[in-house]
């Protein structure tokens, strides 16, 4: 697939607006940061009264995929070539990295930059750089299929 042909400025901006609205809603109603890795990590801390909303937010995310894929299964296509061991290594890196680094694309990249947080801006630059280097190595050195 030619990626430039799949560039979706309008749909991506609209999707971003919905993501921003969801994050804004969580802030206004519950006073929390909509960082998915932070929401997930907090479940393991098991602090009383602070677990169920986290689980329900993730159930909401899961349900969105369940319902949306019924109508638009192509939106969940996995059109890159990755072996199971690579997916496992990637998952472990994302799981541990986001906990050590206190956030991910949503917590740092959207909410953090949105709050003009210096920490989140540094974190976002950090994960953007290593993601770009990783993709360069995968595509240009390893031939795109790992």
């Amino acid at each position: 697939m030619n990626a430039m042909e799949s560039f979706t400025p309008f749909a991506s901006t609209l999707g971003g607006i919905l993501i921003g609205a969801a994050a804004a809603g969580l802030l206004l109603f519950h006073g929390r940061i909509a960082g998915i890795s932070g929401i997930a990590g907090g479940i393991f801390r098991r602090e009383s009264g602070d677990v169920s909303w986290r689980v329900m937010f993730l159930v909401g995310l899961f349900s969105a995929g369940l319902a949306w894929s019924y109508f638009f299964p192509q939106d969940y296509a996995f059109d890159i070539s990755r072996s199971t061991p690579v997916l496992i290594v990637a998952g472990l890196a994302v799981g541990m990295g986001t906990q050590l680094g206190s956030g991910c694309t949503s917590g740092h990249g959207v909410c953090g930059i949105g709050r003009l947080s210096k920490r989140s801006t540094v974190a976002t630059i950090s994960f953007m750089i290593t993601a770009a280097i990783t993709v360069f190595i995968v595509n240009e050195v390893l031939g795109g299929s790992i």
């Binding site: 932070g38 990590g41 909303w53 899961f62 994302v94 974190a123």
Partner: protein, 157 residues
């Protein structure tokens, strides 16, 4: 109960936004970082759209709201220091993100969509999250105090 329903609706809206934005397709994430190939700038538009909505709401809430609607206080990050955990943890996350094209949000919602790749990735991700949190809990148990690592682990998002 209303907090639980609200959180569910928040996750639902977030997940639909991710799908419309194209962020549940790892090829679009990899495409954003593929500067040497055919670049797909979509991710920047997603983040831009989200920040465009979030920033004014956040500033308005901080300026004019005493408290959120359903909670006694805003629980927001307070740390300002840049430490090695922030930078190295984010760097590790970026490697995983570049490898699989999934960050946590799209991974959870793609598992709901029945993606086998997302399920494999997501289980490993939860293992990573759980292992880190368990490690921090064990350290706290030994010292009997909440460590700053633990506080830092969740405070940004």
């Amino acid at each position: 109960m209303k907090i639980k329903i609200g959180a569910f609706l928040g996750g639902l809206l977030f997940g639909v936004g991710l799908a419309i934005a194209g962020m549940t397709q790892p090829a679009k994430i990899v495409g954003f970082f593929d500067f040497s190939g055919s670049w797909d700038p979509s991710l920047a538009f997603v983040m831009g759209g989200a920040i465009l909505v979030y920033t004014p709401v956040y500033r308005w809430a901080m300026r004019s709201w005493q408290r959120p609607i359903w909670a006694p206080t805003f629980l927001l990050p307070t740390r300002k220091d840049i430490d090695w955990r922030l930078i190295s943890g984010s760097a590790i996350f970026g490697i995983g993100w570049g490898l699989a094209g999934y960050c946590p949000g799209p991974a959870f919602t793609s598992v709901g969509a029945g993606s086998k790749e997302a399920l494999t990735f997501g289980l490993a991700m939860l293992l990573g999250v759980g292992a880190y949190q368990l490690f921090i809990r064990l350290r706290e148990g030994r010292t009997g105090t909440r460590t700053d690592e633990h506080a830092a682990a969740m405070i940004d998002g």
